[in-house]
């Protein structure tokens, strides 16, 4: 997300449709079998290569790495140490990515130790853990490095034993040839000095030889530590002499403290410093919001001292911001034509000549991430160096931003990545690490910054609010001849560059311009909405309001026509095809999540397939008792296809969800167990979004403050059974990801089910848990 935003900022005004300035990486030719140069039978079967394909990983900052020396070391006792270079926030990448390497090299997972990489992209390649990219971008490089080590072990063994390399077999954590046998540890020193084979010289395991990949039989690496309290998250880092800071941040963006009284603060035992931090106002990227920091010997004293401050805040250009009035403005804007981002055919003609039109409007309030672990980071700035410990999704981005804030060289900054107690995009923004670094620099001691839950709810980076207005033109036979979708929402870009009020290609590429329906006349539009809150990205990003609108609308249209929703949804998607983005006049800056269209096309056959699968598994079409209903929705996001069939049952007015059937097609699946857990979690988070997630701004400040008024789905009312149905694919069907794409279809499927249960149509998120 971040690097593409920076490209967008550099490119200047939004709305231009110039091509993306992403360097082209040459596509390697197909590989048939193995080149004969290196004929080690490194696995039991005959040699094969997998067919390499290009992903956006090559275009990410610092790209990908293929040298196993960076990621693999083997001790003499056979312990294999692998580097986990992606941040772990619950999605499982810390386990699943190295697991791919381990399986391909033949390592026994029980003898694998993981070390978490510090933020060092020049060394490890891209580490920005975001965009459901970890497996999508790294599954091939991990396989290649694993195969390389397997070959290097075999080559070292052949030399040691003086045997023909073709007789050497690499099994599980051991190498054999005839009666010769050696463990990985015994061969390690020599093997790691062997030249790293070229891709063309490698053999790869066939899919039936995988022991872990695709099996779901490996538990997450930190499972024991998590269940025994040993796992280390941001706030768990303790340094000798460390102080703890709590910060009073401006309640209104950019409002400076004009005067403050800290006398009550100084009465709190343990308070050691009260310091001002420079106030920022967007666009300021991840600059801390500023305010007054209270630094104490422990967290309790820091928070009490902070809460005892009496601060008079000055004025801000955002001090009159009112989210209800803003929503009304966005609705008015959405009713007018917006900037046209994509046109197919003659939409004005289609609407002018329509026998009937159907038009609806959907909305979403601002949301905040509310990760269970509120932001926290530790910094030690001393002797011209800075060392950070933080739960960050982009450790190298953090390193650069901290260096800039401290006016230091990134070479003098180290960023250690702890586990993340939830991320959801919040921890892509390293403001909290910068705060810790600035305060440590000021007081000359290690500092931990601890955000309270109130800070997190009120001072975050909001998922944007939006109004989505959709209209269709119907001919006399009730066939859809025209589609108009105007999206009005403050842009993430406003956090990075002066606010134009218009969305940019990342946002419009999330279920807006890439609308896959087969309709002859289309107009995709974007109306202006200025941001008065700090906007950032939240898991699934703009796909949430777009799937909410488009899939709710499809259901409404079916109802309007008196037809079956599944049929109408399938008909809207149309024929099985890979969408021709040129013929369909996609904008020149259509980004496809950073992937080439020919590698990850919009495949309507796969989209329809998951919809049919979810419908079938959910029992679509069966008669439901009064007060119960099924709802469907399907959405492609992050180049993954997910459909949901949600069963709603209203009990004494309370909306409950007895079952969700989710069908997911994310190409080849490396770790089905974690795909399943992501879908289960997406169903819960989707239900929270549908029912509860909304921030209210009055006089520029957020009214909600904690989990009592910013509610979460809890164990007393959650999707009770979530069944995940994965479409099975070989490795040749390019792996995508599962972290985000489960979320978007949940709210609309829930809303559609609620309509069938009650006859009430929900159009505004969140809609509460009672009907």
């Amino acid at each position: 997300m971040l690097h593409t935003i920076e490209q967008a900022v550099l490119r200047g005004p939004v709305g231009k449709t110039a091509g993306l300035a992403i360097s082209k990486v040459s596509r390697r030719s197909f590989l048939q079998g193995s080149a004969a140069v290196f004929t080690i039978a490194a696995v039991a079967s005959e040699a094969r290569a997998f067919e390499r394909y290009e992903t956006g990983g090559n275009s990410m900052p610092h790209g990908l790495r293929y040298d196993p020396h960076i990621f693999v070391s083997i001790d003499a006792d056979g312990t294999v140490t692998l580097v986990a270079h992606r941040s772990e926030m619950g999605q499982g990448s810390r386990t699943s990515v190295p697991m791919v390497l381990a399986d391909e090299m033949g390592a026994d997972w029980n003898r694998v130790t993981l070390v978490q990489a510090e933020g060092d992209e020049p060394k490890y390649g891209n580490q920005d853990t975001d965009g459901s990219r970890s497996l999508r971008h790294h599954v091939q490089s991990m396989r290649q490095m694993g195969a390389s080590v397997r070959h290097m072990l075999a080559s070292a063994a052949a030399k040691k034993w003086g045997v023909d390399p073709s007789t050497v077999q690499v099994g599980v954590h051991e190498v054999t040839s005839g009666t010769f046998r050696a463990g990985f540890g015994e061969l390690a020193a020599a093997a790691m000095k062997e030249p790293v084979p070229a891709f063309e010289d490698l053999t790869f395991k066939s899919e039936d030889e995988f022991r872990y990949i695709g099996k779901g039989n490996i538990q997450i690496y930190d499972l024991h530590d998590i269940t025994t309290g040993k796992a280390v998250y941001g706030a768990d880092v303790m340094l000798p002499g460390m102080k703890v800071a709590a910060i009073a941040r401006p309640p209104v963006l950019g409002a400076p403290p004009v005067r403050y009284d800290a006398s009550a603060t100084w009465e709190v035992a343990g308070v050691e410093h009260v310091l001002g931090l420079e106030v920022s106002i967007p666009p300021a990227k991840f600059a801390p919001l500023g305010g007054i920091a209270v630094i104490a010997g422990n967290t309790d004293a820091a928070i009490r001292g902070r809460d005892a401050l009496e601060i008079e805040w000055g004025s801000s250009p955002h001090e009159e911001f009112d989210s209800a009035a803003h929503m009304a403005e966005m609705r008015a804007t959405a009713a007018e034509p917006g900037n046209v981002l994509r046109t197919v055919g003659d939409p004005d003609g289609a609407f002018a000549g329509a026998a009937k039109t159907v038009e609806r409007e959907y909305s979403q309030a601002f949301m905040v991430h509310a990760t269970m672990e509120p932001p926290a980071a530790v910094a030690n700035v001393a002797n011209g160096k800075a060392e950070i410990w933080a739960p960050v999704q982009s450790p190298y981005g953090t390193r650069v931003d901290v260096a800039n804030a401290l006016h230091m060289d990134p070479a003098d900054v180290t960023v250690n990545v702890t586990l993340l107690g939830g991320g959801f995009g919040r921890k892509s923004k390293c403001d909290f690490a910068i705060e810790a670094a600035l305060l440590s620099q000021k007081i000359g001691a290690p500092v931990k910054v601890q955000w309270t839950r109130e800070d997190d709810i009120r001072n975050g980076f909001n998922h944007t609010t939006s109004v989505e207005r959709i209209a269709v033109a119907l001919d006399a036979g009730n066939k859809v001849t025209g589609w108009r979708h105007n999206s009005v929402a403050p842009s993430i870009l406003s956090t990075f560059a002066p606010d134009s009020g218009y969305q940019f290609f990342i946002e419009s590429g999330m279920g807006h311009v890439d609308m896959p329906f087969e309709i002859p006349n289309i107009s995709v539009e974007n109306g202006k909405a200025l941001a008065h809150a700090r906007v950032g990205w939240f898991r699934s990003v703009s796909n949430i309001p777009r799937a909410w609108a488009v899939q709710s609308f499809a259901s409404e249209l079916a109802h309007e026509l008196g037809r079956d929703e599944l049929e109408v949804m399938l008909e809207l998607i149309g024929s099985d095809r890979k969408i021709d983005i040129k013929a369909q006049n996609f904008p020149g800056d259509y980004w496809n999540y950073g992937e080439k269209d020919e590698v990850y096309p919009i495949d309507t056959g796969r989209l329809k397939n998951v919809l049919r699968l979810a419908a079938e598994k959910g029992g679509w079409g069966k008669s439901m008792p009064e007060g119960e209903g099924l709802g469907l929705a399907v959405h492609r996001s992050f180049v993954t296809y997910v459909a949901a069939c949600v069963h709603v049952k209203v009990v004494d007015g309370l909306i409950t969800v007895p079952e969700v059937n989710m069908a997911v097609d994310c190409g080849f699946v490396a770790n089905p167990e974690r795909v399943r857990s992501q879908m289960e979690g997406a169903a819960v988070q989707g239900m929270t979004i549908a029912l509860h997630s909304g921030l209210t701004y009055e006089n520029g400040a957020v009214l909600e403050s904690n989990y009592h008024d910013y509610r979460m789905v809890r164990a007393d009312n959650f999707p009770r059974v979530v069944k995940t149905h994965m479409v099975d694919h070989p490795f040749s069907v390019h792996a995508s990801g599962a972290g985000e794409p489960g979320v978007p279809p949940i709210a609309p499927a829930l809303g559609n089910a609620l309509f069938h249960a009650t006859g009430k149509r929900m159009r505004d998120l969140p809609f509460g848990d009672m009907v």
Partner: protein, 150 residues
């Protein structure tokens, strides 16, 4: 100095008597398995046992637990093999894991008081513990597994 018994050990913690039990456990006793999630008793991330019963550590002070037995996730079982911990691993409950110590302590408290809870009792007992990753289905399954062995 506040004298507190944590995980079977008498500890003299260097803070005032009215220090929050949560921060006393984390910052003064150095036991970081107990998490801060909300500070207002709304999320359950800081759940510990006081004389075997679940308490939100952020809602208690050190003086309130004087003379009582405080158990944190680190002290639930010497080897980390309390039936709830074992069940949590068997059911592959955690995603990010941050709330799980609190969830486990809450489940342990439930099973202390109600060894064979009904589903409704499980749901009610666990409803004070938020999991933002959304592991509830597995949490409920793991509590059932810990109670029944199946």
């Amino acid at each position: 100095m506040a004298n507190v018994r944590i995980n079977g050990e008498d500890r003299a913690l260097d803070g005032p008597d009215d220090t929050s039990l949560l921060w006393g456990i984390r910052d003064l006793a150095g036991l970081t398995g107990t998490k801060y999630g909300c500070g207002t008793g709304l999320c359950g991330a800081c759940t510990v046992l006081v004389d075997g019963v679940s308490v939100r550590a952020c809602q208690a002070t050190l003086e309130e637990v004087a003379g009582k037995e405080v158990t944190t996730i680190e002290g639930l079982d010497a080897d980390g093999n309390h039936p709830v911990q074992v069940a949590w691993r068997q059911a592959n409950v955690p995603q990010c894991g941050f709330c799980q110590a609190g969830q486990i302590m809450q489940a342990a408290s439930l099973l202390n008081e109600t060894p064979n809870p009904t589903d409704e009792q499980i749901l009610e007992s666990m409803a004070g513990n938020i999991c933002r990753c959304g592991c509830y289905e597995r949490i409920v399954a793991a509590v059932r597994l810990a109670a029944t062995g199946a």
